[in-house]
């Protein structure tokens, strides 16, 4: 394996981690947006805030990780993607601002109206950001991003069926992941009714994601033959793993199983994202720019790999510490927010 391939692998680890952790966060915002009004909606929102509070910041560092590895390891691809897809990426960036500030401020807003506005912003941008990031992935896959400074079409590059479907799929997958996570969080908080509430939503999101995935495969076949070919050959085992994991989660949720659903849901998403990476290999921009042709000089790639090694040694244990402390309720200022309806 060349060092360019290794760096591409590192990049894809970042993309996968962002899809899983960032995705779960976006999905939580999605459920916050569509929780509706009333007492149960308020408790669902409180659970969401309580569950993602300590971890959301770290979750979104993965996006910065992806951007930095991309522009350092594969500068040309980065420049081409960001100039052609100026519109969806600008909208995603604005979504990230709205989302972060909506979440940062909705707890501090004293008046109900301010809190509502902040919550709406948080929810709405949690919907739009993964959608636009999904369209970017779709535009790249369908070969709409030529090498150059804004060389592709600024609009039609990301408004074809495949990018739009992938945008919708990103939203659905995020919602699915978040719902599965929130089932566990509701159990941790001792709220049996919210456990069921999110289990139902996980099933709904899973069905939606499955349907969109099927439609996406049809669109891939039409607009992104190279990636389609990869997903149905080298990437096929990972696609199958993803589907099996996804179905297993549904079975577990229906049975109300206490363990395993979260890990399997993560597996389902991680497998399909990895499968995508395998399918697109050896291209950064399918049939436009290969990983080797687009890679930085060797010294840069080596440095990136060293930095990544250091990151693994330093960041992974710290991250594990954070998640462990959070799961054991050692870093939370209040008790779990929903404790009163646990027995019903």
């Amino acid at each position: 394996m060349s060092s360019a391939d290794a760096v591409a692998g590192v990049l894809w680890i970042g993309v996968t981690a962002y899809a899983v952790f960032g995705g779960a966060d976006f999905g939580a915002g999605f459920w916050s947006l569509f929780a509706g009004r009333g007492e149960r909606a308020r408790r669902a929102r409180d659970l969401i805030g309580w569950a993602i509070g300590p971890v959301w910041e770290a979750n979104h560092v993965w996006l910065i990780f992806v951007l930095v590895v991309l522009w350092t390891g594969f500068s040309t691809a980065f420049a081409s993607i960001f100039s052609t897809l100026f519109i969806p990426l600008s909208l995603a960036a604005i979504g990230i601002v709205l989302r972060g500030s909506g979440f940062a401020f909705h707890k501090t807003a004293r008046r109900l109206a301010g809190r509502r506005v902040a919550e709406r912003l948080f929810g709405l941008s949690s919907l739009l950001t993964p959608f636009f990031l999904g369209t970017v992935l779709g535009a790249v896959a369908s070969g709409e991003v030529p090498v150059g400074n804004a060389a592709g079409d600024p609009v039609s590059s990301w408004t074809g069926p495949l990018p739009l479907l992938l945008g919708a799929l990103s939203v659905a997958v995020s919602a699915y992941l978040a719902a599965v996570f929130l089932v566990s969080d509701a159990r941790r908080a001792g709220a049996a009714d919210l456990e069921r509430y999110f289990a139902v939503r996980a099933l709904g999101a899973a069905v939606a994601a499955g349907a969109l995935a099927v439609a996406g495969i049809v669109a891939l076949r039409a607009d992104a033959r190279f990636v389609y070919g990869g997903l149905t050959s080298a990437g096929l085992p990972l696609v199958i793993v993803s589907a099996v994991c996804g179905i297993a989660v549904l079975v577990l949720l229906r049975r109300g199983a206490r363990r395993g659903a979260r890990a399997l849901a993560v597996g389902a998403v991680a497998a399909v994202v990895c499968g995508w990476g395998v399918a697109q290999h050896p291209y950064l921009l399918p049939q436009e720019l290969t990983i080797d042709a687009g890679a930085a000089p060797t010294a840069t790639l080596t440095s990136l790999l060293i930095v990544f090694g250091v990151a693994v040694v330093l960041v992974i244990p710290s991250l594990a510490l954070l998640y462990t402390l959070a799961q054991r309720d050692l870093i939370a200022e209040g008790d779990a927010p929903v404790t009163d309806r646990g027995d019903r």
Binding site: S83, L89, F103, S303, L321, A332, D340
Partner: protein, 460 residues
Amino acid sequence: MTQLAVPLASTLEAARSQMAFTLGFHIILASLGVALPALMLIANHRGLRRDDADALLLARRWSKVVAVTFAVGAVTGTVLSFEFGLLWPEFTGRFGEVFGVLFAIEGIFFFLEAIFVAIYIFGWERLSPWTHFWSGVPIPFCGLGGAFSVVAVNSWMNQPQGYTMSSGGEVTDVDPLKVIFNPAVPYEVPHMILAAYLVTGFLVASVYAVGMLRGRRDRYHRLGLLIPLTVACALAPVQFAVGDSAARAIAKDQPIKFAAMECVQTTATHVTEYIYGRCTSEGVKGGVGIPGFDSFLVGFSTDTEVIGLDTVPAEDRPPANTMLHWAFDTMVGIGSAMIALGLWLGVVWWRRREIPQTKWFLRAVAISGVAAVVALECGWIVTEVGRQPWIVYEVMRTEDAVTQADGVWVTFALVVGLYVVLGAALAITLRAMARRWRAAAEDDSEVPYGPSGPPAEVAR
């Protein structure tokens, strides 16, 4: 041709405006992110060591300010990452592989910082006090490391080295160590890190000075003023020395930037140092002139030759000369005033072991926070506008780096609108937090982006 050139020129203007605006906004939050955790830990340590309840309360409240500014800073920092591609694809496309490793290093520091900030601010209740303190100790070091990495990239843009380029403009080889330790790092990095500590120290102290001016002169307020003010006043003279050597280094490394800062039109010896005044092609109009002093500042002798703007063609000179000159003078002026404030504090403390309680001292501290931010922005203007027309000094022009995509004016307008709301929300939030703290003797307010507050309030 002209039809093609006009939209390009306006895209460049919009991209530069958006970059300047978003960076100018982020730099304040980034400074707080670098230095506020250190103040917080100083207060925390004092609180635990001396069993000082006031200090602990300060630490706890500052940690909540860290939480909210860190959250907003993370967001505005992410926007900057996007802008590397959205605004400057030619720059990042060509040189990303040269300077990018620094951002990868910064990524580690930021990641660790995010993790330990989360552990610290959510750990007040259930971690043991000293464990909790130590969980915060990595934060200021991550801040230093992150600041080093990011500022080193800017230093590299001022003093690019450590790569070879083919005739086609393709980077063919990179020497990462030469990139990381480029010649501008030794002065630019410490200057920015010290600036972060000064801004944070004076800004926090100014909050308590205002409180004391309004009659809240209890021990809690005096301590809240003293801790940050001591740190800032101790560092102000260091910053002056670092800044002075930075200016001399720039006179050598980037003589045209220096000439623009000082409005030196023609190369000469015995150059007059002008304080303020309007820069024109015939020299400085107005302002206070000190004959020979500019030469003296550059080489400790009035015989020192200072290179003038006329040594390069007009298109290679920075724009907005008067603004640059004023920005530089304002920064130096505020820096000097900070040292004077430190002397005031030092003398009174030495004689009476107490903060000066006069209204004028508190007023001076109260405006020092805003003044420090002004100095920070001025310094940033000097280094960024002073480097123009280059994005990579003498290698790539800013106009060659900009995106060809349409719509930057639209995103600029959106971003300005968004950031105005964001800034207002941040200010309102911090004020509301302060009001709640004043209202409640107990520290029971909620962490800004944290879990819900007391369960009684949430559960039915």
